[in-house]
Point group: C2
């Protein structure tokens, strides 16, 4: 049925051991035999069976990416999708194949599946519950977390310097003269939103212009719709408060808020300056384009995979990853 090493061996008049040696390049083979076998492989389009290979080597050279989500699939998510892309690229360059799965929060189904498929390692993106980590750790598969909702002791975690990013926003906005700044903060259940807010607040307090709780709106999801809706319902408060700038802890929220304001013919940045966070593709495309803090998603994906690879290869002295350095990108929404 399937074209096997045995068939090649038969045609070449040698044993399968010899063919195996030619393919792997390990051990001795005469030039004569090598040429013959290689030619046969080319001719018959023989592809080694990675399944059988995994069976004996106990390594599949496959990894799994688990993306946790609340309600919707997010492989196409403007932020997480970028990270995924980088993982895909890096993995391919190191000859790994990648299973991509999304799962409901708390569900172990995907994780289960990946265990059965005997992936060499896992990358966990976004929110991740303790039970999932326990489950995976229990199974003994190496894993790396990317931009998780919380830090977990002993878990390798690739994250951005979110607190520093929040500080940068505050520094920039005050530098260009803003004092009355309104904030829409993403879900408190997520680490990055909390740290961004923290960095921002701390700097402002340090400047002698602390942000009162009343100027901070708590978003329940970090979506465009939520940003739009919160801006709509609080516009009167915003206007009355004499605010000149808005900081949203991610771009999606910022963009949603902007959309509402533009519909009300509020001029950005003249009446309201807006700063987001993430630098998703759409931030630059929006009109006006959005000033934001760029999170190096490509580096996140690359680092996550490289780290996982080290873990898989059981390299010695693996260091905890350094937090990624964010960068302020000034665009039309503030100047």
């Amino acid at each position: 049925m399937e074209l096997t090493i045995k068939e090649i061996a038969l045609r070449a008049g040698v044993s399968k051991s010899t063919v195996s040696r030619v393919i792997s390049g390990k051990g001795y083979t005469s030039l004569e035999v090598r040429d013959k076998v290689l030619q046969l492989i080319e001719e018959l389009q023989y592809k080694p069976n990675a399944v059988a290979r995994a069976m004996v080597s106990q390594r599949t050279h496959n990894i799994g990416v688990l993306i946790y989500r609340r309600h919707h699939p997010i492989a196409s998510h403007p932020f997480y999708g970028k990270i995924l892309d980088a993982i895909l690229m890096t993995a391919a360059s190191l000859n790994y194949s990648v299973f991509v799965t999304t799962d409901h929060e708390m569900s172990l189904r995907s994780a289960d599946f990946m265990m059965e498929k005997r992936v060499d390692g896992l990358i966990l993106i976004s929110r991740l519950q303790q039970n999932v980590i326990d489950y995976i750790a229990n199974f003994g598969v190496p894993y790396v977390m990317v931009n998780g909702s919380t830090d977990v002791d002993g878990v390798m975690h690739i994250v951005n310097q979110d607190e520093e990013g929040g500080r940068m926003v505050a520094e920039y906005l005050t530098d260009v003269g803003h004092r009355q700044i309104f904030v829409i903060a993403g879900p408190q259940t997520h680490r990055s939103h909390n740290l961004r807010l923290k960095g921002f607040k701390n700097y402002m307090a340090g400047m002698g212009a602390p942000i009162p709780t009343s100027s901070i709106l708590q978003a329940s999801t970090s979506t465009f719709g939520e940003g739009y809706e919160l801006m709509r319902s609080h516009w009167e408060q915003f206007r009355a408060g004499g605010f000149t700038a808005l900081f949203a802890t991610n771009d999606m929220i910022a963009l949603g808020a902007m959309k509402f304001m533009l519909e009300q013919s509020i001029r950005i940045p003249e009446q309201v300056a807006v700063v987001g966070f993430d630098d998703i593709d759409f931030a630059a495309m929006f009109s006006p384009s959005l000033t934001t803090i760029r999170v190096n998603t490509e580096e996140m994906g690359t680092q996550a995979f490289s780290l996982l690879d080290k873990l898989i290869r059981q390299e010695a002295n693996i260091e905890n990853p350094k937090q990624l350095v964010p960068r302020l990108i000034v665009r039309q929404s503030t100047e």
Copy 2:
């Protein structure tokens, strides 16, 4: 080392055949033995080894998604990413795992890899060259193409009714009074752009208002940047021609063109009405939101996988998929 069926059998005091029977539910097993084995499996957290299973069943229950790209990874692409998401969902519900790979045009590296991994089937997204198809077909693996750059004889192809969509745009724009319509057409190398343009032109000609070649701009890529750039370089021509509407054969181009016009303080839709195609998420978020033709990407992904599953299961009488029905979504950019 690994927890195997043999170990379970040992502890339960039965043979591995019996354990296998309990797990698969095939054949007879006494209630007593069944309970004991099941309890042991639960207790020891035994996960059947899908690799070994694939070895004997000659079915991996894995499929591969190949996304071809020109220059950049596109798992995070606003259009293809949506299709990918739908595939991921559908596949998961049918207990398949999905390898996602992107590759350079013409490269067979990813395809090769998928063959070695012995995927049960392949889904090919976007552009796809004859050589890749030949290569895969030669290997005898079932495959389905989604929104490919060209139709290929005998290849199952999930596509949108692009020509009909183009017609809908023309009908709508003429209905609301536009006669002087400017067009930016995406790359001629892609089937969908050609058909969208064709449907549009045919309707206009039928209305006695044919579109002269001079009002059709040929884009070399279907990107935001290209839309922006083409609009910038041809704005004078546009203005002088007395055009009142713009049709771009996809949303990204349309959005790019809009971005330029908004920067020039051109009012949309009062001065220029704009219609795109695809209905990517950003279309609704942009300000003004974009009137467009919705392509049912979710259905595309779902159909693609369902079809592939039928092919894999060698179901009888598999019909060629029906083209998906597009829908006009009217938004702020035209009214």
